[in-house]
Each structure stands twice: as structure tokens, then as C-alpha cells.
């Protein structure tokens, strides 16, 4: 298969999956094989969507959630990468922090929300904090593993050709651990979405999560579905964005 045909087929398959799902849903709902009260046909959601944008402040909710995701992601990922590199490079740092990192990593993050609220209050900062904290250790552990997995012969080559510690870091440790860092960031991005929607459930106000939760409590099924779809789209969009960044940062990786 040529590259072009392959690309085209990929695009077709990507679109057809969701389309088939929506079509099936539409048909089942219209023929009342599933209860249209709880499973309204997707076509009927369009109206709700438009009115939510016009009067319901949907765009505002999306913006708020997006800011929380991106802000929390950066706040957690940047220090996470830094600490992960330090733990990978220096064994005392690693030995010192490893027990804490693995233990905290295992705790379901939503469970520490009360603590976060005690520290950061009910406002915006606690939402950024919970996202940042929940991905921090994930990024740390992936980054550290990435540094440790670098073939020692690369370090030898650099030393043999006269690299000082800074050059060793910049030309070997950093590029060598980037693939693992991105694996961590990809996982982390998924987590940010889970955690922020969960948090918005519990602390209602604004954001896509509250839209879903409040609609559900009013038994307003259609807005609830809009909230779900928007969440899915957000996740998809952010993943694509990260893909683009990764391709730019790792031009040297073998890809199929």
C-alpha cells in the first residue's frame, strides 16, 4: 500500500468508527428499541447544543475546564519532569524519594481532594492543584525510568569525546529520556481529564463536569449528553495536540 492510500484509509477508518456508532444509536432510539428519554437520538442533541452555547454558557464551561486542565497539566508536568530527571541521574535523590513517590502514586487522586481543599480552599487554585498533584508522580516515575533505561554506552561515547556533565545531560540524558517522558505525559493527559471532571462533580459551579452533574440531577438528559460529548472531544483534541508536540520533539523516533 502506498503512503497516500494508507493515509486516506486511515482517515476514513478514523471517521467511520464514530459515525457507525452514532448511526446505530440514532436508529435504536428512533425505533424506541432503547428508551429515548434516557437515550435521545443524537440528531436531537444539536438543538440543545446550540441553545447551550447561546444561553447556557457552554463555551464558558469549556474554557474554564480547559484552563484547569492545561494549567494543572503544566503545573504538574514541568516539575515532574525536572524531579524525574534528578531522580534518574542521581541515586541519592532516587533512593530518598522513591518510597514517597511510589506510595503517593498508588493513592487514587480524587481521594486527596479534601486535603487539597483544606490547603487551597474551594476556589480555582484547589482545582489546579488537584490536577497537578494527580499527574505529578506519574510524570516523575516515567521520566526517571526513561533516564535509567538509556543505554550506558551512549554516556561512554559522550564522555570519551569529552562531554562535561552539563553536555552529558543536554546531549544524552535529556534526548534519551524524551520518549519515556512523552509516554508519561500521554498517560498524565488522560488523568487530568478524569480528575478534573471528577472534581467538578464534587465541587459544583462551573466547568464541563458540573454541567454533566447538574444536568443529571435535574434529569436534563440532553445537556448531560452534550457535556459528555464535549468532554470526549476535549480529550481527543488534547491528545492530538500532544501528538503534534511529540512529533516535533522526537523527529528521530521510528514510526510505522
Amino acid at each position: 500500500m502506498s503512503r497516500r492510500t494508507r493515509r486516506w484509509s486511515e482517515a476514513m477508518l478514523t471517521v467511520s468508527g464514530p459515525l457507525v456508532l452514532l448511526a446505530t444509536w440514532e436508529w435504536l432510539s428512533r425505533t424506541a428499541r432503547i428508551d429515548p428519554t434516557f437515550w435521545p437520538p443524537p440528531s436531537s442533541l444539536w438543538e440543545t447544543f446550540v441553545s447551550l452555547i447561546r444561553e447556557g454558557g457552554l463555551l464558558g464551561d469549556v474554557r474554564v475546564t480547559l484552563v484547569r486542565i492545561l494549567g494543572g497539566f503544566l503545573l504538574g508536568a514541568v516539575p515532574g519532569v525536572a524531579l524525574g530527571l534528578a531522580m534518574g541521574l542521581f541515586w541519592p535523590v532516587r533512593v530518598l524519594l522513591m518510597p514517597i513517590a511510589t506510595a503517593v502514586y498508588a493513592v487514587p487522586k480524587i481521594a486527596i481532594l479534601p486535603l487539597v481543599v483544606i490547603v487551597f480552599g474551594l476556589g480555582e487554585s484547589s482545582k489546579l492543584a488537584i490536577v497537578a498533584i494527580s499527574i505529578f508522580f506519574l510524570v516523575v516515575l516515567n521520566t526517571m525510568a526513561g533516564v535509567q533505561a538509556i543505554d550506558p554506552s551512549y554516556r561512554d561515547v559522550a564522555r570519551n569525546l569529552g562531554a562535561n556533565p552539563l553536555e552529558l545531560f543536554l546531549t544524552v540524558a535529556l534526548p534519551g529520556s524524551l520518549p519515556a517522558i512523552f509516554t508519561g505525559l500521554r498517560l498524565a493527559l488522560g488523568f487530568t481529564l478524569i480528575v478534573i471532571v471528577g472534581t467538578e462533580f464534587i465541587t459544583p459551579g462551573d466547568g464541563v463536569g458540573s454541567l454533566i452533574w447538574e444536568s443529571w440531577q435535574r434529569l436534563a438528559i440532553k445537556p448531560m449528553f452534550i457535556g459528555l460529548v464535549v468532554t470526549g472531544l476535549l480529550g481527543w483534541l488534547l491528545t492530538v495536540l500532544l501528538d503534534v508536540v511529540e512529533r516535533w520533539a522526537l523527529p528521530w523516533q521510528a514510526r510505522e
Binding site: 561515547v157 559522550a158 570519551n160 528521530w252
Partner: protein, 303 residues
């Protein structure tokens, strides 16, 4: 791969002259076009009673012990020996990447500067995150050579190893043999006084191997570097070396040092066709066979 005409007849005289004048500086060494050129770049190696002991979970392991070795500036020294006899360990110590636990090591060059070295590593060593050209220019970049200058140097070496077309490619797009050529070009790029090569042609097909052997000899003859070269191939040892060091099984120590009598510059086909080739080959094989048996028994006993 560009491989110019060899003017064997016109310089063989000079080649012999070189061999006998390596003891004291300055060294005269023939260039490819037969001119004699003064070279003061090669490193001189004096190793005495060198040992390296590793601490392992099951106690001590002497990788090498009591190694004596003398390599003159501009000399091509090849080390052969059974697997696990400490060849890589010795080379890493020569490269300054590891330290001996006993004995002494003295590297000097006829010039006053301490000699520089570059190592071609066994196995994977080409940075996957740099392009072929960036890999070759890496050492020059560390030395602060300007972008344009190091690019030009890299391109000329890529031409030498036949990879010009792949300058912008990433290593994963290359074959194993091509990657190994990148590693060799990278070591040559910094123009070291001492070139340390750990089975550099081990992963290559025979044709490429022959071409690169010729190319290496040509570069060596032009530049007067000292080379320490590890191989498992007896044929390769003979066609390349001035001096062949046969190592014993673990703990590794030089068992016999042989001088290879063939004149320089060498044509590989001529060396292989020389009546003295087969006896030398057999002699080395006899020496190695005993050691390989010892190594096998040793490895078996370890398990």
C-alpha cells in the same frame, strides 16, 4: 565508496622505512601519493602489570591481570582473544573510561600535549536522536568547532565511509552496517592521536568489511594515528596489524605478541595471497584454540 588507485610499488620502500623509524620521533610516514610526511600525532602506549578487578555479587573477578603492552606512535596493534578475556576492559582503560586496579598505564605523544583518543564501541553506540551528520560532528561540536566547519568535516568523512546520501537520515533508517560506519566516522572526526576500535567491523557483511578495512588502512597510513583494534577475525588481524597481541582466557593477559611482517602500504589481496599468510593464520589459530577451550570450560564452571 571512493577508493583511489593504490600506488603500491612507488611507496613500499617508504613503508618499510616507516616501520623501522617508529621508535624515535620524528616519524616519517608515507602519504597516499608517496610523499614522506612528518607526523607527530600518534600516541605511544606503555602498559605494565595492568590489572582490573571487578567486584561482583559472587566475589572478585579479575577481567585482566598483569597486562604488559607497548605500542609505538603510529603503530597498528590488533588484540585477539577468546570472548570474555577482557579486551573491552583493557580498551576502556586505555580510553580513560575505566581505571585499572593494579599496574600502570602511560600514554604519551611525541608532541608535548597529552594524546587524545577516540573509541569505536562494540555494539550500539550511534545516538538515535541525532542525524547521521550530527552524530559524526558530535565530537567536534563538543570541542567548540563552528557549525559550518564541523558540517564540512562531517560531510567529508561521510563521503569516505560511503554515507553521503544519508547525512540527514536518522540512525533508525540505516542498516546495522551503515550505523557502524557512522560510529567509525564519528571517532575519526575528532582526529585522535589514538584510535581505539572494539570489534568495529564485527556486525558488517564481508564485502563491506573488506572495503572498510582498506579504507581504515588508507586513513591510518595518511594520518599516522596509533590504533588499538580488537577483533575476533584472525584474517582481519593479519591484514591490518603491525603487531598482534593474542590474549589468554580469563583473567586476560597477553599470551604471545606477534609481529606481522608484510610491507606497508598493504594491499589486502596481496597480503591474503602472500605465502606467509597461511602459516601466520595457523599459528594464531593454534594459540587461540587452546584459549577458547579454556574460556569454554571456565564459562561452564561458572554456571
Amino acid at each position: 565508496m571512493p577508493s583511489g588507485p593504490k600506488e603500491v610499488g612507488s611507496v613500499s620502500q617508504a613503508g618499510i622505512l616507516t616501520r623501522s623509524t617508529t621508535i624515535e620521533s620524528p616519524i616519517l610516514r608515507p602519504t597516499r601519493n608517496g610523499r614522506l610526511q612528518q607526523e607527530i600525532s600518534g600516541a605511544r602506549i606503555r602498559v605494565a602489570g595492568l590489572g582490573r578487578r571487578f567486584e561482583t555479587a559472587h566475589g572478585y573477578l579479575d577481567a585482566i591481570r598483569g597486562v604488559d603492552l607497548a605500542v609505538e606512535p603510529g603503530e597498528f596493534c590488533v588484540i585477539v582473544g577468546p570472548s570474555g578475556c577482557g579486551k573491552t576492559t583493557l580498551l576502556r582503560i586505555l580510553a580513560g573510561l575505566d581505571r585499572q586496579t593494579s599496574g600502570s598505564l602511560d600514554l604519551s605523544s611525541p608532541g608535548s600535549e597529552p594524546p587524545t583518543n577516540a573509541m569505536v564501541f562494540q555494539g550500539r553506540s550511534v545516538f538515535p536522536w541525532l542525524t547521521v551528520r550530527q552524530n559524526v560532528a558530535y565530537g567536534l561540536k563538543l570541542r567548540g568547532v563552528g557549525r559550518r566547519e564541523r558540517g564540512a568535516a562531517a560531510d567529508s568523512l561521510l563521503d569516505t565511509v560511503g554515507l553521503s546520501r544519508f547525512a540527514r537520515a536518522y540512525p533508525h533508517q540505516l542498516s546495522e552496517g551503515m550505523r557502524q560506519r557512522v560510529a567509525i566516522a564519528r571517532a575519526l572526526a575528532v582526529d585522535p592521536d589514538l584510535l581505539l576500535m572494539d570489534e568495529p567491523f564485527g556486525s558488517l557483511d564481508e564485502q563491506t568489511r573488506f572495503l572498510l578495512q582498506e579504507e581504515l588502512l588508507r586513513i591510518w597510513e595518511q594520518t599516522g594515528k596509533t590504533v588499538v583494534f580488537i577483533t575476533h577475525s584472525i584474517d582481519e588481524a593479519i591484514v591490518l596489524a603491525d603487531q598482534i597481541v593474542v590474549m589468554s582466557a580469563q583473567p586476560g593477559t597477553p599470551k604471545v605478541t606477534l609481529t606481522v611482517p608484510f610491507p606497508r602500504p598493504r594491499s589486502l589481496t596481496e597480503v591474503r595471497g602472500n605465502p606467509a599468510f597461511a602459516p601466520l593464520f595457523n599459528q594464531i589459530w593454534e594459540l587461540l584454540r587452546d584459549e577458547v577451550h579454556v574460556a569454554r570450560r571456565f564459562e561452564g564452571a561458572k554456571r
